[in-house]
């Protein structure tokens, strides 16, 4: 499947039948596990990711020297997550790269001044990979952080975007679209503040298109933020119903 | 000689039942207790010692090689390896009077250098890498032993002048916080141990 595969059909539909600006179906849940301080699970289309948060706790080892909060991420992908079996769940170049990007994006969202000399561990486990792995990993990490009760400036959400041959921007790229070529852009943003925390791009765009693609991705981010917010609200009501919060909502 | 020794030596191996535990029978080294009996945990010769008012200590003495691990409270001899503002790292090579096969790691924190004025201690003015010190084990940490020299008899016993001459001359203590090189008469700060000179010990023994 080389690069000259058309991403949009003549009817203006994508390979999986979505319209250009349509996100994949998102399902998520907070508080999946008992042991971690916070955990979350998210499905975005066929990409399924689990995240667990431990902390904040005392920083370990030599890292304890600094005064700031230490954000420690681990990105691992189950060996059966992709169509082709992987030999190692983590430690390869790709997951180390994602780990770095996650740390970078999350440190923009966490209110670091509240946690001096502490460490927050965020472990992300991709159970099924079907495109936009990084974006989903970051979204689920946000949910897990919220579940753990860690103070954030605001939701940090990520979304991918691409450009079809006839210059129509596409939101939320699936795996098939990823491999069929075309440029891909990943944006991690703080949607309310309209700030971009992280941006990654592959292949080339014409600079004229860049703005529209980023805008598409940002729109995707805002949409995802609304979905996540609804999920958090629902979770809180569910948890709080024992304490009679439900009526307040 | 050996034939006469054979009669009163009881050889035992691990897991061998030695005797019943009674009020006046106490476990010594190389033994453990199970269901009211004393069992040997090492191979060796059974040793019954009288201690105090009709109290017997049953222990197993292993001939040949002794396994020695520093324990809390032991006085050890160590060599200073690294000094940092907060602590000095040492290699323990002698426990009590037993020379060790391989050295253990020791850690001497700034607060444990001396008894008084702990906050004014400067590690660099107390030890230099290469010094041989006497110290007491106060605790066992995860990866090393925590040492202290906060006693008059503990501290540097052998130190060499830190000038770059080839012949390393051991310095002579002059006071509790200084040592002097006998050749150059340069004084250097150290946390000096008050050790009785060997000659006095010898004369004491001879008398």
């Amino acid at each position: 499947m080389a690069g000259n595969f058309e991403l949009l059909s003549e009817q203006g539909l994508r390979l999986d039948g979505r319209r250009p600006h349509e996100l994949r179906h998102i399902k998520c849940k907070l508080g999946v596990f008992e042991q971690p301080d916070g955990s979350a699970y998210m499905e975005q289309g066929n990409t399924k990711v689990l995240a667990a948060v431990y902390g904040p706790h005392q920083a370990k080892g030599m890292k304890a020297e600094t005064n700031d909060v230490i954000i420690n991420c681990q990105y691992s992908q189950a060996t059966f997550a992709t169509a082709e079996r992987k030999n190692r769940p983590r430690g390869d170049r790709k997951s180390l790269e994602f780990k770095m990007y996650l740390e970078q994006a999350l440190s923009a969202a966490i209110k670091s001044e509240l946690y001096p000399r502490s460490q927050i561990d965020i472990y992300v486990e991709v159970l099924q990979a079907d495109g936009a792995n990084y974006a989903v990993a970051l979204n689920v990490a946000t949910l897990a952080l919220i579940d753990a009760g860690i103070c954030l400036n605001e939701f940090i959400v990520a979304c991918t975007a691409s450009l079809s041959k006839n210059s129509i921007p596409l939101t939320d790229i699936s795996h098939t679209e990823e491999v069929s070529g075309g440029p891909m852009l990943t944006v991690a943003a703080l949607p309310t503040a309209e700030k971009i925390a992280f941006l990654e791009m592959s292949e080339r765009f014409h600079i004229d298109h860049l703005e529209t693609v980023i805008e598409t991705a940002m729109a995707g981010c805002r949409e995802i933020r609304d979905i996540l917010e609804a999920a958090v609200r629902e979770h809180l009501l569910h948890i709080g119903s024992a304490a009679d919060w439900a009526r307040v909502g | 000689m050996s034939s006469e020794g054979d009669e009163d030596t009881i050889v035992c191996l691990p897991g061998e039942r030695l005797c019943r535990i009674e009020d006046n029978v106490v476990l010594g080294i190389g033994t453990y207790e199970q269901n009211g009996y004393i069992y040997a945990s090492k191979s060796g010769v059974v040793n019954i010692e009288e201690s105090g008012e009709n109290c017997q200590v049953v222990s197993v003495h292993k001939p040949g090689f002794h396994l020695t691990i520093p324990a809390t409270g032991d006085v050890v001899t160590a060599r200073v390896l690294v000094t940092t503002p907060k602590f000095a790292k040492c290699a323990i090579f002698c426990v009590r009077n037993v020379l060790l096969e391989s050295s253990y790691r020791g850690l001497l924190r700034k607060e444990d250098v001396r008894e008084t004025e702990k906050d004014r201690v400067d590690i660099y003015k107390s030890f230099k890498p290469g010094d041989v010190i006497l110290a007491r084990v106060i605790n066992q940490m995860e990866q090393s032993f925590l040492l202290t020299t906060a006693e008059t008899e503990l501290g540097v016993v052998v130190a060499y002048a830190s000038d770059a001459r080839k012949t390393r001359v051991p310095m002579v203590p002059v006071g509790w916080s200084e040592m002097q090189c006998p050749l150059t008469t340069i004084k250097e700060p150290r946390k000096v141990a008050k050790v009785l000179p060997e000659s006095t010990i010898n004369t004491i023994n001879a008398q």
């Binding site: - | 691990p14 945990s41 001939p63 040949g64 090689f65 396994l67």
Partner: protein, 329 residues
């Protein structure tokens, strides 16, 4: 349609590796025929001819060497030292690490060596954990190294025996002496202390034979049990320290094999006891002699000091100076 085209496998082409003995099921068959079959119930429950010696190396303290039939094993126990990794720490317990290595000439096939070394190491650690008084060296790790010089079956059990001796030799506190042995069952024959050939037959063929008798067509046909069992025991309290079993056994057979190995362990214990007692006596004598010698030395020194005190220093020096024959008087 997805098509997978596989060219002919060169390895299976016939002639290339046919010279290597023991590669096809037929070879297994022949190998089995060449074995001396002990039958269903072994009569002699005894260990192989055994040679054990403690303290074979001079530079290392706790060493032991053992020959069990043709299997030759060397074990070394180093005094406990600080933990390498803080994460390996267990509450109130020391950590035991066993490393097993094959000498380059010990075994014919080199491919599976790293895997077997790892497996043996982890099994050995499990077997030795109960016997060592691990509370005596908190926050320490005890490294036990085993070198296999010659492999003729019963590797794990011989290694356990040898390590047991080395532990005692090093003066590590142990609750008891530990002895181990193995037994296996293959095609209704019970092999005690199986040789390398028998073990390999069992392992490689994986009881492929067992299936023949238990086809679905005749479910009532007797099952071909097969399996290997290695038991380590401590006999003072009649404790089983480790019992590792693989294969496919009915519970009754399992218990039968277990009892066989326990009986063998008892006789092995006698051998090891004898060796260790002799070793203690030998070292004790050495100690006594050394003590006597140093006492003699002390006495001599005391005499000199006594004389010194009586004669005074000058006199003493005078009497001790030999006359220089080259000085003219």
């Amino acid at each position: 349609m997805l098509r997978v085209t596989q060219t002919k496998n060169t390895l299976l082409d016939g002639a290339t590796i046919a010279e290597d003995l023991y590669t096809t099921p037929k070879d297994c068959e022949e190998c089995f025929d060449s074995l001396e079959l002990p039958g269903k119930n072994p009569t002699k429950l005894c260990p192989r001819s055994t040679f054990v010696r403690a303290g074979v190396l001079t530079t290392v303290r706790g060493s032991a060497y053992m020959e069990y039939g043709n299997t030759k094993v060397l074990a070394i126990v180093a005094p406990p030292h600080e933990l390498m990794r803080a994460s390996a720490r267990r509450m109130n317990m020391g950590v035991i690490n066993c490393f097993v290595n094959f000498a380059a000439f010990a075994t014919g096939e080199l491919e599976s060596v790293p895997e077997r070394e790892k497996h043996l190491g982890s099994m050995l650690t499990k077997a030795l954990e109960p016997v060592v008084c691990r509370t005596e060296f908190l926050n320490f790790q005890l490294d036990i190294r085993v070198l296999i010089l010659d492999d003729d079956g019963c590797l794990l059990s011989t290694a356990i025996n040898c390590c047991g001796v080395a532990l005692v030799e090093c003066g590590i506190s142990t609750y008891d002496l530990i002895t181990a042995s193995s037994a296996c069952i293959y095609r209704d024959n019970v092999f005690l202390n199986p040789s390398a050939k028998e073990e390999e037959l069992l392992r490689k063929h994986r009881g492929g034979h067992a299936l023949a008798g238990s086809d679905n067509s005749s479910p009532t046909a007797a099952l071909q049990e097969h399996g290997l069992i290695t038991t380590a025991s401590m006999d003072t309290f009649e404790q089983v320290a480790q019992c590792q079993q693989g294969g496919y056994l009915s519970p009754a057979t399992y218990v039968k094999l277990l009892d066989y190995t326990l009986t063998i362990n008892k006789s092995l214990r006698q051998i090891i006891r004898r060796v260790l007692t002799a070793r203690v006596k030998e070292q004790h004598e050495l100690d006594v002699r050394e003590k006597a010698e140093s006492a003699l030395e002390d006495q001599r020194l005391a005499e000199i000091i006594e004389r010194l005190k009586q004669q005074g220093l000058d006199d003493f020096i005078q009497t001790n100076i030999k006359e220089d024959p080259f000085v003219k008087r």
